[in-house]
Subunit: 100 residues, 2 copies
DNA sequence: AAATACTATATTGCAAAGCTACATAGATAG
DNA sequence: CTATCTATGTAGCTTTGCAATATAGTATTT
């Protein structure tokens, strides 16, 4: 799996996964891992960045199967950003198709 | 234009542009600029890298309109690489589509 | 003759983002 | 009590595009 392709696109994937329902980090890692290899820890960096920029907020929920889970929820700003980024991505893919 | 999306994909674009005919750096920059913004100089780094790894070789041709042009030609290794990378890209795009 | 602009190649320093490896920690099964 | 699964998090590295800049040939304008 080409690591360079992922740059930027992973952020969009995380945001998109959160549009339907709140999820915690490990859960997101598992969902995205079904489509591509993603290193443990990679998503936590993205999630921290998204939180710093107020695209998501978080809350803790205790778990019976291990440590507490930190859930991530899209903010209004995050929803707008997800939309923009998705449009940009689809446009980008079309432009690449022209060149290859 | 999201700079992160370009990582890796630009290399594929350059390789793909060379599959039909040899081209020089400035010419490639102009062709790719029709689809996306790309900074002057960016492609020269990619081209140097591609040459170091024997995906392309080069030859100089004098020009009436300015300095000599350095043409880039795909090697057999480069053709194989372009094919692999293209397949990987198309697969990647499909997987992202599942996630968003 | 000098300044400007277009064509053309190339390098330097910077920033973004994923990867590897590692650290921490609760719960549970053997 | 050790291993394993769940779960979050950090440090250092690498790759790669960008901005800025340098160099240089040719042509046109002032």
């Amino acid at each position: 799996m080409n690591a360079q392709f992922k740059k930027g696109a992973l952020e969009l994937c995380v945001l998109s996964q959160l549009t339907d329902k709140d999820q915690y980090g490990y859960e997101l890692t598992e969902a995205i891992s079904e489509q591509m290899t993603v290193a443990t820890g990679t998503l936590y960096l993205i999630l921290r960045r998204l939180k710093e920029e107020d695209y998501v907020d978080t809350y803790l929920v205790e778990s019976l199967e291990g440590p507490a889970r930190k859930y991530y929820r899209l903010t209004e700003k995050g929803r707008n950003y997800q939309n923009e980024l998705k449009d940009e991505w689809l446009d980008f893919v079309k432009r690449i198709a022209v060149l290859i």
